[in-house]
Symmetry: C2
Subunit: 321 residues, 2 copies
Amino acid sequence: MEIPERELVKILKKFGEKKPAIIRGIGDDGAVVRIEDSSVVLCQDAIVEGIHFTFSYLSPYQVGKKALYVNIADVLSMGAEPLFYQVTLGIPKRIGSDSVRAIYRGMRRVGCEFGITLVGGDVVSTKTDFFIDVSMVGLLKLDTYKGRNLARERDLIGVTGYLGESAYGLLLLRSGLEGKKGQKRFVDRYRNPRPPYEIWKELIKHDITNAMMDISDGLLIDLERMMEESKKCGIIYFDKLPIPRDLKKEKLEDLALSGGEDYQFLFTFSKTKIGLLESLIKKGYKISVIGEVVSGKGVKLIKDGKAVEYKIKGYDHFTNG
Amino acid sequence: MEIPERELVKILKKFGEKKPAIIRGIGDDGAVVRIEDSSVVLCQDAIVEGIHFTFSYLSPYQVGKKALYVNIADVLSMGAEPLFYQVTLGIPKRIGSDSVRAIYRGMRRVGCEFGITLVGGDVVSTKTDFFIDVSMVGLLKLDTYKGRNLARERDLIGVTGYLGESAYGLLLLRSGLEGKKGQKRFVDRYRNPRPPYEIWKELIKHDITNAMMDISDGLLIDLERMMEESKKCGIIYFDKLPIPRDLKKEKLEDLALSGGEDYQFLFTFSKTKIGLLESLIKKGYKISVIGEVVSGKGVKLIKDGKAVEYKIKGYDHFTNG
């Protein structure tokens, strides 16, 4: 990178904010923040150019937004409200200071949306790889966290939004069809993977969920992870999955099962909460009840009354990368 | 990287620990920890192979230790006790799972030394660069933090340990002289840059310091940063600097002024605390009083009664990288 540290600190300070809870922000060995007696969620998730995204399909500004959304989805899915974040940028020489500024602007934009603040981090040179690694601190909103390990037998399984939108958007970009009529919504979802914060707030307000996680690698693989951590079996019904009509038309239902980066919330909830959930659905919140939790292990996908054989094809950075 | 995610999560879980303050550790979208009402220090610092270290001079185990020490030094220098950390590894194909395990072992070793616990993070593939990015949470030990911006006029300037040891160790390694008689201490300091925790505990116990930071890029550049943040001028006396005899003999005093990675603490303190500090020195804690803070700006280096012209040569990743 050709940007001297002094200039970078100036850029960084510009993107810092003053808030009562921030006792000491950017400019020191660490930040000092005030946290009231509570349970705190910590998460840290990185994205790497050429592995998780490419600048051909995302602008630096969008990449900055994505890096934050990914972490916000993690914090929310634990049942916590995000508060502060730090970011490390790894920057090879080919990335100029304009791109770096645009990345920080993208992060600040998302920061404003969710009321969270950049308090520190690092900027390092790399030889070839560009990466953004964000760590985030959130405050738990309820007495218990919402984790992957909390699915209970006889719970129902719910999911927010639509499945496969983002993967279909990426497919359109890869095929040079991003301008195709009526398909903008999918490309937008890929480029702007904002977690469904408004639905999340309702789910938390009414304390509906038991287990919760965000779908980052695909419905089947992520549900399998939840069932593994919970030591239960998840049964889902193909007909109940919120698959966009365009995907059905194109026979691309697989993208809804195994396409990554939806950043929708997958959750389980007690049957006693079904009334509450249905009232949310009536109010217009896009939530689908897609199955139930039973004893056993793994995930069973039911189509036309029969269990369907499937191969987990969820996005796995480590074998696809 | 050729390590499947499932195996990595297993490795990671093995290195997690159970503690009452950890409500939910590795294995979820984020960790949940209990933090009592207090001020919290957050920091995040990365090291990149070929920029901050090379596997020619450090084993994977030592690299893991170094990644933690760097962050611990930051948390301590803010006046906080480190508690939890998360780590993102960026791994190109050439790094095998044995090295990854050794890196986590190195981190765990240091975690045990300081009583801190790995609670999460990420593992991502990269094309060529190997990096470790650690974020850390610490609890402030006193009512006020210890930052770079808190140096006061008429404060004295102190430094722990010796200066230039680590840079001299690296020089010996680069010259193939790491086995040279009597020089082991320097190579050890480079390879094992443990911050002087025991001295730090005394400084904090007696609330001696005003401003504090760790020397990561070199005495002159780091003191200049402290003075800039504090809007003061630092005067230091060459004769009072703790420069190892071997460096003087080899006419390598410059390494003590501008050599990076000492991870000693540089601090200012009120003259009223000089008695306390001297009693610590008498007890055998290696601390040197090297100068004083006056109004003005920048750093003045005095040698034989005269101000010495010097050029800041501290390690700057962004221009040296």
